[in-house]
Amino acid sequence: MRTATQHTALLTARALRSVSRVPVFMVMNLVQPMLWLLLFGALFRSVVEIPGFGSDGTYLEFITPGIVMMTAMFGAAWAGTTFVQDMERGVMDRFLASPTSRGALMVASMACQAVIALAQALVVLGVAWLCGARFDGGLGGVGLLLLGVVLLTAIFSALSNAFALLTGQQEALIGLSQMITLPLMFLSSAIMDPRLSPAWVAEVARYNPFDWAVRLGRAALDGSAPASEIWGPAALLAAATVVMAWVATRAFRARQKSV
């Protein structure tokens, strides 16, 4: 256990070094959410006036937690890129032929993504604030929202890494982004109050980890939501994180059988 923790720290440091050497990627990842936040926020400003839309604030305030989670999920879906690059070189084989902890390889990747996602979430929140969004939840609410960001990032980086290990191909990650994360974003309450969506969308959203994170974030920023609206989704996300990390670490064994 001590070795695994140590390896996690060493490998997380390596991943963060690599990110810090090409900071432009982090900025690029922010372009899309900014467009969503600013364009959608302005374009659909009057959506909140539809009867039955369950939000007292502005549409910008409504979508901010959705955009924060979207940034986290979309970024995490590319986490496997590092594994693919390590597999294209002999780096992954070198790690696997050494006592390097498999769990540490997985958790380090999740941790590095979480750090990136936290920084990006703060940028999105800052821009929303500059545009006039105000949240009653205060700093405590932001802290809880960030907890959701970390858990959501962990789930999708583990999924992305599992895809990478099983296929060894960057194309698989493109598929993950297009076929899985994008639909998950629309099958949620991120940009539309589910009470105004078709009933089946609301039903699917109940099993959508992305929606759990959005609901957690919105309740946290709201400040007056009952605790169960925060800790219920948080518990689901935490459980999903543990399961995904375990499944993804198992993917190392599947790879050992296939090479």
Binding site: R14, R89, G90, V91, R94, A97, P99, Q256
Partner: protein
Amino acid sequence: MTAPSAIEVQDLVKTYAVRGRPPVRALDGVSFDAPSGAVLGLLGPNGAGKSTTLKILTTLTRPDAGSARVAGVDVVARPAEVRRRIGYVAQRPVTDPMDTGRENLVLAGRLQGLGARAARARADELLERFDLGAAADRLVRTYSGGMARKLDVAVGLAHRPEVLFLDEPTTGLDPHARAEMWAEIERMTHEERMTVVLTTHYLEEADRLAAHLVIVDHGRVVAGGAPSDLKDALRGDTVVVEVADDGATARAGEVASRVTGLREVTTDGRTVRARTSASSAVVLPALLAALDAADVGVASATLARPSLDDVYLSITGRAFEAGAAAETEEVAA
């Protein structure tokens, strides 16, 4: 045989499933031993089973049948123990291009269990030894091919492994970098009494470095032994005679095959090739006299000790480079 075996391989079998085609049997009962403290050369064309053997020995994959021990430890039963004792330098680069040389070495040492201080000291030592001190704090992506390959080997040595696996360490290097790498591998085995298992495409490399050779072909071991023993086993030197006149080759070949002490006579263009089965000092003058008597003009005549190329040719029935090329095409198709 006083040294204990560093590698013991017994009847390894490995089959790969290929979608839409019958499964490929990469290893079909491979067995060999390697003494410790020496270089073992694993030789054979692409697709012969060299890399699969290495992947099993380094615990990256499991055999379907058979057993293997590295430094006395069973690779299937106790992979974690094996991983602590070996270093592995894959065919492709094993370093992170976005880290510096020093960072790569320190990380490798620490993942192998060295403390922070010990890992830094070992990194300094290896950087100096591989003449990479000046580039130590540059990102690896700025390294030349030769420098990057030296760093690969240094990374494999970070924890002073008992057995070092090198998968084609000099493929793609220029002659100067290759010579440097050879010198380094020789020094490693002599000074540190380390066992090195090396796969290679270059017979010259195997001849120079390996104390013991295993030649694999189609997933089986077709020959094994010290390079000099393998060459001696061919019994006899190679005689090559070039005739002065195109039309005389066939006649020269007939004459040669009647000379006592010559066998395996072949002709090609203006060249007649044969192997001696008696003392070359007697056979060559006899051949030249017979050709003279038959009125065949001789442009040149040479006598050569058998090379590893000859060994390979006689064992697999094809020339080494040609065999390698044919296999590559097969894999690509």
